[in-house]
């Protein structure tokens, strides 16, 4: 937190968590998908489900999916604009056992057929937390450039990835590792202090054992 979280952010109302944070979730999802969204299934949970309509959470998510920022004056008209662009949008309820009250799942399809499933929460003051990508845990706040790497759980992979980042003088701010089981599918979430240039992400993709890389520039 800094003083511009106290006076600021500039945002479209009415709620930093239900509106500004929701725009950011949509925007992060759009960036992670890496292309224009053609279909979106939006599943709301908790307080998003109960009071989202009155807070314009639906408009906010869709605005974010079109790449709008949280202070974009076009947010109130986002549903009309999405319809104009031919975006297919459906809404539903998300059944979860236990989650942050402001949680949403987005199931997206892009214009070239790429898909992305993301579970994220709006955690207050417009800040968000991504919880899952494509069904695998991946926790990050989307404040810093972030690499999400899907890989096989085998020795040495983390060292290869961090060595690559070192070669390009990229400092790691935080790093998390998850796996579905020993020797099974794993996920690395690396938040960096510098942006990660395309040659680096390409180099990570070619490492043996890496199945996919998603990059969020911030």
């Amino acid at each position: 937190m800094n003083i511009f979280d106290i006076v600021g952010p500039v945002m479209v109302g009415p709620s930093s968590s239900h509106t500004a944070g929701a725009v950011k979730i949509g925007r992060v999802a759009r960036k992670l998908l890496g292309e224009e969204v053609s279909e979106a299934e939006i599943l709301f949970y908790g307080s998003f489900l109960a009071t989202g309509k009155g807070h314009g959470t639906d408009k906010a998510i869709v605005a974010g999916l079109m790449g709008y920022a949280s202070d974009d004056r076009r947010i109130p008209e986002s549903l009309t604009e999405a319809r104009k662009r031919g975006m297919q949008i459906s809404y539903g309820k998300l059944e979860l056992a236990d989650a942050h009250p402001n949680t949403v799942k987005l199931i997206l399809k892009g214009v070239t057929g790429r898909t992305l499933e993301i579970l994220a929460s709006s955690v207050g003051g417009g800040r968000i937390a991504v919880n899952e990508i494509d069904g695998m845990p991946a926790t990050f706040g989307a404040e810093l450039p972030t690499l999400v790497i899907h890989n096989e759980d085998k020795p040495g992979l983390v060292a290869h990835v961090t060595a690559l980042l070192q070669d390009y003088s990229i400092n790691i701010a935080t790093m998390q590792l998850y796996r579905s089981g020993r020797g099974d599918q794993a996920v690395m979430v690396i938040e960096c202090d510098q942006s990660v240039a395309p040659p680096v992400t390409e180099a990570v993709k070619t490492l043996p054992g890496v199945n996919g890389v998603v990059y969020y520039e911030g």
Partner: protein, 287 residues
């Protein structure tokens, strides 16, 4: 950010700099940006606050239909000289209502400290700017003062209704606005402290009880309360009135009061006004 008003005052004395600069320099140290960048960023915040006042649309209503258009009623009454509270307070009330209504109608605002309390600080600052013909530079400095006080409240207590009730949102906004106003009127650090203390003391215990969970009833009109309370607190201090309890301790009390508050009264939409027969009837329309 500073953890106490006392820390801000000792930084001011140590470096022989004004209140606003102590806040600005501390933030630059933490975030790595230059004082010039920080000042430009804060000036942009002030510009956005002015826009949020100017862009009010008298014809707009919120999605729920619960709020909107009442800023126009106040404007008319003020212009016709019908407000018993006078022109300055009338302007403050009108601006607070306009900006808070704009927020509910999905217009662009500056969260200060939150979106729900976004009308308080700009209503007070813009009214004073108009009345005293102050420069944008002075207003930007005043926003640093407001941010410094808000930062202390955030570190000692909370700025979230879900944690501390409305006292953490409208209460904090009111303390920030009172401090900024005293700064603009030429008050020193002790007077800024007193103004923040008196403003917060008056709103201690205020619960967060939004009808249907929306940032509308009673949030919009509580912005008027917070803004007017800031003006009266600042006026008292400029007249020489002091607070018996220092601001840091008032903020600590705000935290404790927040912790004592039942969950129904902390932004859950279950208690207070939300639980009245009319409040529940309104909420049932959204199910």
């Amino acid at each position: 950010m500073y953890k106490s008003m006392k820390d801000i005052k000792s930084a001011m004395e140590r470096k022989n700099i004004p209140f606003w600069q102590a806040v600005c320099e501390e933030d630059c140290k933490e975030t790595g940006i230059s004082p010039e960048e920080s000042f430009a960023k804060m000036a942009a915040m002030y510009k956005a606050m002015q826009d949020s006042d100017a862009e009010y649309d008298e014809t707009l209503r919120s999605e729920s239909g619960l709020v909107g258009t009442e800023g126009a009623l106040l404007r008319r009454a003020r212009e016709q000289g019908k407000l018993i509270s006078g022109d300055f307070i009338g302007t403050v009330m009108e601006k607070a209502l306009r900006i808070a209504e704009s927020n509910a109608c999905m217009k662009r605002i500056v969260a200060a400290p939150t979106a729900g309390s976004c009308g308080v600080v700009p209503a007070v600052l813009n009214s004073l700017k108009e009345a005293r013909n102050l420069s944008d530079e002075e207003m930007t400095k005043a926003l640093f003062v407001a941010a410094g006080v808000g930062g202390v409240i955030a570190s000692r207590a909370s700025l979230a209704g879900a944690e501390g009730g409305c006292q953490a949102e409208i209460g904090a906004a009111s303390a920030m606005a009172a401090a900024a106003m005293v700064f603009l009127l030429g008050g020193d650090a002790d007077m800024i402290d007193n103004a923040a203390a008196i403003a917060m003391k008056g709103l201690l215990g205020l619960v967060c009880d939004p009808v249907a969970g929306l940032v509308e009833v009673p949030c919009v009109k509580r912005n008027v309360l917070g803004a007017v309370n800031a003006v009266t607190s600042a006026d008292m201090v400029m007249a020489g009135v002091t607070s018996r309890i220092p601001a840091d301790e008032v903020f600590d009390a705000m935290r404790t009061v927040g912790r004592c508050m039942h969950e129904d009264l902390r932004e859950t939409g279950k208690g207070g006004l939300a639980a009245t027969p009319t409040g529940m009837k309104i909420a049932s329309r959204f199910e």
